[in-house]
């Protein structure tokens, strides 16, 4: 579903953000991308949704060669992807319903389809009862659930999350992670960039660790830190 082959990313100032990263993610997988700030987690996501182009290497997302994708084809790629951010990126002057519908409206979806899909997405994230509220009337967790509903409303095959719990307290964090898990169980491939150790260690999913732009470990049912014995890690 997602494939990076020897991908490097050099910033114009000479900083090497990614250094020959190779990564394969199969359809329906749930993968954590972990590492300290500035190790290239966000860069990987931004390359996948073609916010940036790699300096070298091949990137394939759902059969699309993203590294070679011309600008005019980018919208088509992004309709296959849902993206969620730490800061939610909601529109403050639109209600929950409108924020979710916005993603369909601006891609030219017919009204009938919008009226069918938006309630479904809100139901999935458990926000049907909040649909007329504005983002500033919601808790952080609810705002992020709104953002997730917006990311999912176009039925993407892949959900990319960049520090989705970065702004949330532990209770809301649990809520969001459980939601991501449920979404994954419905067949969506989920890639989460995070430095939240508790989340990673509790979930025990595939963990890809980046350091200085390189993949240093890639473990099924992994932990946040390398080299820690299972007994030393507290779950939850």
């Amino acid at each position: 579903m997602i494939s990076l082959r020897s991908v490097s990313l050099l910033y114009p100032n000479g900083v090497r953000a990614l250094d020959h990263v190779t990564l394969e993610i199969a359809k329906g997988e749930f993968v954590f991308l972990v590492g300290h700030s500035g190790t290239g987690k966000s860069s990987v996501l931004r390359l996948l949704y073609r916010e940036m182009r790699p300096s070298s290497g091949e990137i394939t997302v759902d059969g699309i060669r993203v590294d070679r994708l011309p600008g005019r084809r980018v919208p088509a790629l992004r309709r296959h992807l849902g993206v969620v951010f730490q800061d939610f990126k909601l529109l403050p002057d639109k209600t929950v319903w409108e924020n979710v519908a916005f993603a369909m409206q601006v891609t030219g979806a017919p009204t009938k389809e919008i009226l069918r899909q938006v309630p479904r997405a809100l139901d999935l994230v458990g926000l049907s009862h909040r649909s007329r509220m504005y983002p500033d009337e919601l808790s952080g967790g609810e705002q992020q659930r709104t953002a997730i509903a917006r990311a999912l409303v176009n039925n993407p095959k892949i959900l990319l999350c960049d520090e989705p719990t970065g702004n949330l307290d532990p209770a809301n964090t649990t809520e969001i992670v459980d939601l991501l898990l449920r979404i994954n169980l419905k067949g969506t491939t989920v890639l989460v960039a995070t430095h939240n150790q508790a989340v990673v260690d509790r979930m025990r999913r595939r963990v890809v660790r980046l350091e200085n732009g390189k993949v240093v470990t890639d473990k099924e049912r992994g932990y946040y830190y390398l080299g820690l014995g299972q007994g030393q890690v507290l779950s939850g």
Partner: protein
């Protein structure tokens, strides 16, 4: 037709437009100034063109005959004029009639009763089919035997054309200046609008809205600026025309302005068209430059 989509789109345009109201008003005002100038210019030019054209159409060639011209010479000349395809009307005015005309024309100014004999020669009054033929025909007529002198509005044509050209140059320069100013202001308005809506834009791009779709609301705002500016200009033109124009006509009673030649619906359409093009064009350029894709 999916009315939900239309409603959503128009709502987005309206929101963008009202969010930046002061800037939009500035843009509309500038477009209005530009088009007011353009409209006044087109109006005056059409009227003047008609005026000079009318003068040119009415130019006559007076062919004065030598005092000793015999009836045979006159008949021969008349026949040759009639045969010339460039000449449309030929009128013979004997000296007696010429004096009568002169008396009528100068009544109260010159006392022609003092004239003891008729100083005027016989003449032909000739009109040609188009004004640009006048100099050539006049030159040929002068060489005919029995012809003493040929007179037409020498100099008038040239002066009218020169006035027209000067007005045109000044008008074009001012309009060009204002078009540039209007374009800059609309571009700037669009730039601010793009900045004010960068959040929406980034989300639109993220969920896969096409570039055209992202740009469209800004282009529409530019179009609205242009069209509203044109509307303001047209209203101002109507007001100016109703108040200042009659006074101008009063001040210049000897000039026969025929304002009926100005095709008002066409002028209105032209102003809307130019306004729309300026607005859309400026917004298009600006949004292209300030939108990162």
């Amino acid at each position: 037709m999916d009315w939900g989509r239309v409603k959503f789109f128009l709502g987005e345009v309206a929101r963008g437009f009202t969010r930046n109201a002061v800037m939009q008003l500035t843009a509309i005002g500038t477009v209005a100034m530009t088009l007011l100038l353009l409209g006044a210019f087109l109006f005056i030019r059409t009227t003047l063109a008609d005026l000079s054209n009318g003068m040119l159409q009415h130019i006559e060639i007076s062919v004065y005959l030598k005092p000793n011209a015999t009836p045979q010479t006159i008949a021969a000349l008349r026949a040759s004029f009639r045969a010339d395809p460039r000449i449309s009307t030929v009128e013979f005015i004997p000296k007696a009639e010429g004096l009568k005309e002169l008396r009528a024309r100068t009544r109260g100014v010159i006392d022609t009763s003092l004239l003891t004999e008729n100083p005027l020669p016989d003449k032909f009054r000739i009109r040609v089919r188009s004004p640009e033929l006048v100099p050539a025909v006049a030159g040929e007529l002068r060489r005919l035997s029995g012809v003493d002198n040929v007179v037409y509005g020498q100099g008038v044509v040239e002066r009218l054309l020169r006035l027209d050209m000067v007005l045109q140059r000044i008008g074009v320069a001012m309009i060009a200046l204002f078009v540039i100013v209007a374009t800059i202001i609309i571009s700037n308005t669009t730039r601010l609008a793009v900045y004010a809506r960068r959040r929406e834009i980034s989300i639109m791009q993220l969920v896969g809205a096409t570039n055209l779709y992202v740009r469209m609301p800004f282009i529409c705002e530019g179009l609205i600026d242009g069209v509203l500016g044109a509307a303001v200009a047209i209203i101002l033109l109507v007001v100016v025309h109703a108040t200042l124009w009659p006074r101008l006509l009063e001040a210049l009673p000897f000039v026969q302005f025929n304002t009926a030649v100005v095709d008002v619906p066409v002028l209105v359409l032209q102003l809307f068209l130019v306004g729309g093009v300026i607005g859309t064009g400026a917004a298009w350029i600006s949004v292209g430059r300030h939108l990162q894709t």
